[in-house]
């Protein structure tokens, strides 16, 4: 956990309907802060904020008051894929990296007063690792530590729909941390289950997975999800084909997710926290 991770920040491009005071734009109005509009005193009975000039020039001679924005807190949910494929260890440890990301988000949410929930899933929701919506700092760190030491073993990522059902309700900021080596159907179910939320997919990749594979030689690979073996005679033409196929597969998943979520943010080997912050705040990379 480096210092850059503590600087992580996020923003939402929508107004929350949350009523708890926080740091994000909401439909609530307040007495101080950013000016919002002028309304009659009867609508917003706060005589401390009477707008004298506006009241004098009002043709209906009403008494008007200034109204300000009232930022609210939101609910942050982090869905972490802990299926078997996440246990691939090349240049990075994906589970540990996911825990780092979750910790960064937990610190950030604590700073802004948002609630935080951590929902690891594989083929179902991992109830032994779940942290339900909380404001407790200790509970967050405990859950993240548990996640960091978790063993990814079971296959499948269908638990994402269960997680989606568990966080149904008001609009939340939902991060999905996964390698997104999903079948298209899982991606579609995830998109449907999370359609109401602001979904931020964070893809974890390892350059040893594909780009840095040897160009020549025999590779005996064991699928972490299914346990099947394949012997592959690597050669440049095959690698090229492989890269193309992988790109196509990824394109299928992202096309489905893009309909209901923000653009997928790919993290390769290590987290560039500045870039991630820029992406979360401005939607740009």
């Amino acid at each position: 956990m480096n210092d850059a991770a503590r600087e992580l920040a996020y923003a939402i491009p929508w107004r929350t309907s949350g009523v708890r005071v926080g740091a994000h734009k909401s439909y609530l109005s307040g007495s101080s802060g950013l000016f919002r509009d002028i309304v009659p005193l009867t609508t917003f009975p706060d005589p401390r904020r009477i707008a004298i000039r506006a009241s004098l020039s009002d043709p209906f001679e009403r008494l008007l008051v200034r109204r300000a924005e009232q930022p609210s807190a939101i609910d942050v949910v982090v869905l972490v894929d802990v299926s078997a494929s996440m246990s691939f260890e090349g240049r990075c440890n994906k589970i540990k990296m996911a825990a780092d990301l979750a910790e960064g988000l937990a610190i950030c949410s604590e700073r802004t007063g948002d609630t935080f929930a951590l929902l690891p899933f594989d083929s179902s929701l991992r109830h032994d690792l779940v942290l339900w919506k909380t404001l407790s700092r200790a509970a967050r760190l405990g859950a993240i530590e548990q996640l960091r030491n978790a063993r990814a073993g079971r296959k499948g990522a269908d638990g994402v729909t269960e997680a989606g059902a568990a966080i149904a309700g008001s609009r939340k900021l939902v991060f999905i941390i996964s390698d997104f080596l999903w079948p298209e159907s899982t991606a579609r179910h995830a998109a449907e289950a999370l359609a109401f939320h602001d979904v931020v997919p964070l893809e974890l990749r390892d350059s040893l997975e594909l780009e840095d594979l040897p160009r020549w030689g025999l590779l005996n690979l064991r699928d972490l999800e299914t346990g099947r073996h394949r012997l592959i005679a690597m050669r440049p033409s095959l690698k090229e084909k492989w890269v193309t196929l992988r790109k196509e597969e990824r394109a299928h998943v992202t096309r489905v997710l893009d309909q209901n979520s923000r653009e997928m943010f790919a993290i390769c080997d290590s987290v560039d926290w500045m870039r991630l912050t820029a992406y979360l705040l401005y939607g740009a990379i």
């Binding site: 040893l208 025999l218 394949r230």
Partner: protein
């Protein structure tokens, strides 16, 4: 196919192991769904499994001592079944000059032995039997294709000889040996003698019926001692022409009267013996069926060889194998 150590065959199910267990070091990989279907990879996979199976199988068969069973093959060749009927009378130990052999001189039996052995060795497809006769006939070797025994029997003919010469009963024994031989083929009797006694009339009649019963070629190799009677020469007028006086001449006449293929050779030295034997060899060229014994053949060296080849293939694959591995602080191994 036999196994000298068949207990090893209990291990044979191990050849299935390569089809169920991976042989290469495995690399964990997140998902193989994006890996393109590749014919070459699949071919190599199966080739390596097969090679593993062959390597294990070869080693097990080698350990079990796989071998081909000894067997016999019937073959067609040219030759005959020949009974060598050899005179063992004491006069055979003399030289062609009728003296005891001394120094460089060779006795008749030694010459016959040397030349007959050559003959036996040269005639690959013939079967030989050996019978000897002196006062009584001696059954030595029945008709057989074991050349070693035949050569051993011929080796023994220059042992000091016995007393007299009873060619009639000798011929009877040779004929009975031919009767015992059941394999098809042309038969011949080679009678080697240096002088004969009278064949009695009764024996003559018996021989005549015996010879008439079966087709036998008869070769009479008369090792004539210097000064003794010729087999072909008619006696000078006035001389006695009776079997008692000229037994060889009358034996020859008797053989000629048998109406069988008959050749007589009167030889007076070793070279003439050789010429006569060569002549017999040329004459006995009828097609015969003979069986060839193929000895047990050890196949385990081939099994080990095949296993070694398969292991070499596996080793090559091992050397080509790559790992997905991150070496901290350096580029990973390609």
């Amino acid at each position: 196919m036999i196994f000298t150590n068949p207990l090893g065959l209990y291990l044979l199910p191990l050849i299935l192991v390569p089809f169920f267990l991976g042989m290469q070091q495995q690399n964990d990989y997140p998902s193989l769904t994006a890996v393109p279907q590749d014919g070459l990879s699949r071919a190599i996979t199966w080739a390596l499994r097969f090679a593993g199976s062959v390597a294990i199988g070869g080693l097990i068969l080698g350990l079990s001592g796989i071998a081909l069973r000894e067997h016999k093959i019937e073959r067609f060749g040219q030759g005959a079944h020949i009974v060598l009927l050899i005179d063992r009378s004491s006069s055979m130990n003399d030289t062609f000059a009728g003296r005891q052999p001394s120094g460089a001189e060779e006795s008749k039996s030694a010459a016959a032995k040397r030349l007959l052995k050559d003959f036996v060795i040269k005639r690959k497809h013939d079967r030989f039997g050996v019978a000897e006769f002196s006062t009584a006939p001696i059954h030595v070797v029945p008709i057989t294709d074991h050349k070693g025994i035949v050569l051993g029997a011929i080796d023994a003919i220059d042992r000091p000889g016995l007393a007299f010469t009873d060619v009639g009963r000798g011929l009877g024994m040779a004929l009975s040996m031919i009767d015992e031989d059941v394999l098809p083929g042309s038969r011949a009797i080679v009678l080697v003698s240096d002088g004969v006694a009278v064949v009695g009339r009764r024996v003559q009649e018996a021989l005549r019926t015996d010879f008439a019963r079966r087709p036998v070629h008869l070769y009479f190799l008369y090792l004539r001692t210097e000064g003794s009677n010729s087999m072909f020469a008619a006696p000078p007028p006035g001389a006695e022409d009776t079997p008692q006086a000229l037994p060889e001449r009358h034996l020859n006449k008797f053989f000629e009267s048998l109406r069988i293929p008959y050749h007589a050779y009167e030889v007076e030295n070793a070279d003439a013996v050789k010429a006569a034997i060569d002549d017999i060899g040329k004459l006995e060229q009828t097609p015969i069926v003979y069986t060839e014994r193929i000895p047990q053949y050890d196949l385990s060296r081939w099994a080990y060889g095949v296993a070694a080849l398969a292991l070499a293939l596996l080793l090559a694959a091992k050397l080509c194998a790559r790992r997905i591995r991150f070496v901290p602080g350096g580029a990973h191994v390609h």
